[in-house]
């Protein structure tokens, strides 16, 4: 998985958990909470959907890694690739 693909995975999840948001111009380097109406429960949704859809676990200590699309991609892409390597 590339980092771009990883960003899209996160955006797809956000599209489901925040269906009223316009995601066409999300800036990857800007914190998601600074450009979208997302609260702490929504971030728990992102964690849950990564677990449900992709088998990815994000420990609580790493939640800050989900701050922006770029940081998500940095943090999650190796996890996705590690999973792919196992299968």
């Amino acid at each position: 998985m590339t980092k771009d693909e990883c960003r899209q995975v996160v955006l797809d999840i956000i599209a489901d958990i925040a269906p009223d948001e316009d995601l066409s111009n999300v800036k990857p380097e800007v914190r998601l909470r600074d450009q979208l109406q997302l609260d702490s429960m929504d971030f728990l949704d992102i964690v849950m959907e990564l677990r449900k859809r992709h088998g990815i676990e994000v420990p609580e200590a790493d939640y800050m890694q989900l701050a922006s699309l770029d940081s998500c991609a940095e943090y999650l892409t190796p996890k996705f690739n590690a999973l792919a390597g196992k299968s």
Partner: protein, 412 residues
């Protein structure tokens, strides 16, 4: 000192056969049922009353995703009631607004959904939703409404089984009289048709209605009645002290005339006609009205073989003689049993009688059960009444909770 006079100034509702009072009333006067067939988890097709209001009218899609059906119904009804009341809601001190919602139960839908969800993950509870607790707390419907409206006064639910709709109005009346709030949003809501457990429970009790024709399935007082049609719905009112309503020039639907709540203390599920009659008489006593002064008695009857007979026994004991102007009807025959919303919806369906002078009937009675043959029963077609100045609304529930609410035409 006389207690403050309390009046109804706004109504918002969603019933299986109408999403406004006007539509609901039209359905009740034209024999329009709201019962259809839905797919129920683990049980296949079942008869149910389903509401068709637009949830997006007052909520965003994310709020609907996070919240509950009962919360959504409550918000819709509250917003509709406020609009109907004509109150300048933005100008009201929000800490003086009370929200009092009756519920039969709350949380079963969400718990069932979560168990179904984790069943797909080998029951691993790490897949259990973090929304489970805010969705299932008993105050959820009232809490979601307070969030939507920005109300900072008391907002909570009253658990009273199927008497709960009346309880919402009764409690709001008490809180207004105690000056715990200055403006009340109250009534009852139910999302029960979204839980398979209630269907399965009634089926195990042999109390779940069946019929080839969905529209004919809910048939209180009919000899062939065979149980309850489970429905969702909601009906919320705005209640105010009379002087406040008059000061703002509000239209007034009716005045709260009397009420009573008591308990059978005799059985988990079987009703007790002696206690029901006591409840009705106590409400009459509080209202200062005699039985013969009541022009519409809206029954609770749910179409269970025994329950209808027992309520009729209670009504016969109070209204059986010397009540020539008392008409008796039933609303569940149109919409099924909307559980916590039932009492509030059924009162609303009758309130227009003060203006149109017509009593809506109890439909689907092809063969009247002789044990339910009450004098004054209005069957199958609406009846024009010489006088309608009072309505008595019965709602009873499991564990033996009984409620009677009486409203009268408002006369200054």
């Amino acid at each position: 000192m006389k207690p403050a006079r309390i009046v109804i100034t706004g109504i918002g509702l969603t019933a299986p056969n109408g999403n406004t009072l006007a539509d609901f009333r039209h359905s009740l006067l034209n024999g329009v049922s709201g019962v259809s067939r839905i797919e129920v988890r683990h049980m296949g097709q079942q008869l149910a009353g389903v509401c068709t209001y637009d949830p997006l009218k007052y909520q965003k899609r994310k709020e609907l995703r996070v919240g509950t059906r009962a919360g959504s119904i409550s918000i819709y009804c509250a917003r509709e009631a406020l609009a109907d009341s004509g109150v300048a809601f933005d100008a009201l001190p929000k800490d003086r607004v009370g929200i009092y919602l009756g519920c039969t139960e709350h949380g079963n839908v969400e718990t069932e959904n979560e168990i179904h969800n984790i069943s797909k993950f080998a029951y691993d509870t790490k897949f259990w939703s973090h929304y489970h607790n805010p969705r299932t707390v008993a105050n959820n419907p009232a809490g979601e409404t307070s969030l939507n409206l920005g109300v900072t006064g008391p907002a909570y639910t009253l658990g009273a089984a199927c008497a709960a709709g009346n309880l919402g109005l009764i409690h709001a009346t008490q809180m207004l009289r105690l000056r715990e709030c200055d403006f009340a949003i109250c009534g009852g809501v139910s999302e029960s048709s979204h839980t398979f457990g209630i269907f399965a429970g009634f089926k195990s009790q042999n109390a779940l209605a069946t019929h080839e024709d969905a529209a004919k399935a809910s048939r209180p007082f009919d000899k062939a009645r065979n149980g309850i049609v489970i429905s969702e719905g909601g009906c919320l009112y705005t209640l105010e002290r009379l002087e406040d309503a008059q000061a703002r020039g509000a239209k007034i639907y009716a005045e709260i005339a009397g009420y009573h709540v008591n308990s059978d203390a005799s059985d988990y599920v079987l009703p007790n006609p002696t206690r029901q009659a006591e409840c009705v008489r106590a409400a009459l006593g509080r209202s200062g009205l005699a039985a013969r002064d009541i022009h519409i008695v809206n029954t609770h009857a749910t179409a269970t073989p025994l329950g209808d007979i027992q309520e009729c026994e209670a009504i016969r004991a109070v209204f059986g003689v010397d009540c020539p102007e008392t008409h008796i009807n039933n609303t569940k025959s149109f919409i099924g049993h909307a559980m916590g919303a039932a009492g509030a919806l059924e009162l609303a369906g009758n309130l227009p009688s003060f203006n149109d002078g017509i009593v809506h009937p109890s439909i689907n009675v092809d063969d009247l059960d002789p044990q339910c043959a009450l004098p004054g029963l209005v069957l199958n077609t609406p009846r024009a009444a010489a006088r309608i100045d009072t309505i008595l609304n019965n709602s009873f529930g499991m564990l033996g909770i009984n409620s009677t609410l009486i409203v009268r035409r408002f006369v200054a």
